[in-house]
Symmetry: C2
Subunit: 213 residues, 2 copies
DNA sequence: CTGGATCCCTCACGATACTG
DNA sequence: CAGTATCGTGAGGGATCCAG
């Protein structure tokens, strides 16, 4: 073996060995949303070379962070899912995502938003204490990515896809970041047209309180 | 420019751009202990090539994570220190270090312990709630690295170097990890000789309660 | 002595093609 | 669909050199 190593007996150095390589944390991010097949991971990470994805999955499996599971017949395909140990990265991934979001700036022309990244972004910006009195469902569209959120007295459930009868549908572009960062009030966002809403429009204010970078 | 990028408009992807490269988080770890000169960083990261260190410092400075500061005369040398934004990585670095420490295993023959890594390891394993009733000072020696700790009713201060009149001096090798992980009781550790103590030996039990992976 | 810059070599990464 | 094989490129590793 004798791979590259930091040469330090240190928890952080070991963590960097396990999940510090390029692409690895983004793979973990997508798996935090749910178990996925190889092709699903590719779809969520369009720029990752397949050999790198393959290699990372092996490393993560060897490190006990994820496990391969063969789905029951007649499907028989393979999914990758986080182990308990891997799942404990959740708080760290959310915190790092929040930290990074604060200096994100505008997206480049090549930058995309994936369903999983949006799901995790909403989970990372959710402020439980601001949602205690709220019960509502939202559908959020950023570009052509759609997720739905259900808030129930301090508990959040987010998933990809539409929501049949959401209380409020929010449609936005990258400006969604300015709204979450409170650089833009909900009123300004709607007025400027960078955010469009359909449904119980009063719920947009609550949305902007509950989710905050 | 046009450097490698993930192509995603996502806080985590951006964080990975800022601090996700090899060595970067270890540099941040050492700077979390205090401002440092180029040569101090080299000493704490013996395996880092100087060009990589130089390059990382530039990137981190450009990203607003650290800043260069020229010390007042007559010294006139340069130190690198975290910005406020960089300092907010502390909780993340501590959590990641804790996560990694759980699967660290035994150190290889090449693995070293540095003063800064030990300081951060102690900070990351400190459990405030277990230290509320305690007031004590320790000197901890792991290999030839020495740090001292002062616990004052739920507050911890750690720094490199010896402590003149510590209540308890703890001397250990890599077995310190087993003690912190509670794979070894303090009594067993002393009995087997893997941990040696000098001073108020009853304080070793408190130590093992207060610091826990 | 500090604070790097430069060189060269290697290997991991990235792009693409291909296979069971 | 789920990867492996191949191959070019650039980042990392290591040694050395240089300016203040």
């Amino acid at each position: 073996m004798a791979k590259r190593q930091y040469g330090q007996f240190c928890g952080l150095a070991h963590a960097a060995d396990l999940v510090g390589e390029r692409w690895t944390l983004l793979i973990v991010r997508d798996l935090l949303v749910g178990a996925k097949r190889f092709t699903d991971l590719r779809r969520g990470l369009p720029r990752i070379p397949t050999n790198v994805l393959s290699s990372r999955l092996k490393q993560l499996e060897g490190a006990g962070v994820i496990q391969r599971r063969v789905l029951p017949r007649p499907d028989g395909s393979v999914v990758y899912e986080l182990t308990d140990y891997g799942n404990e990265l959740e708080a760290i991934v959310l915190a790092l995502g929040r930290w990074g979001a604060r200096t994100m700036g505008e997206p480049g022309p090549e930058d995309i938003v994936t369903p999983d990244s949006l799901v995790m972004a909403m989970r990372s910006t959710f402020r439980r204490e601001a949602a205690l009195g709220l019960q509502a469902s939202y559908e959020l569209r950023v570009g052509d990515v759609v997720v739905h959120l259900r808030i129930d007295h301090g508990e959040l459930k987010v998933a990809a896809g539409a929501q049949a009868d959401a209380d409020l549908v929010i449609e936005a572009g990258p400006a969604i970041r300015s709204l979450l960062a409170a650089e833009l009030t909900p009123a300004e966002a709607v007025e400027s047209g960078s955010v469009r809403v359909t449904g119980d429009t009063a719920l947009l204010d609550r949305f902007a309180e509950v989710f905050r970078i």
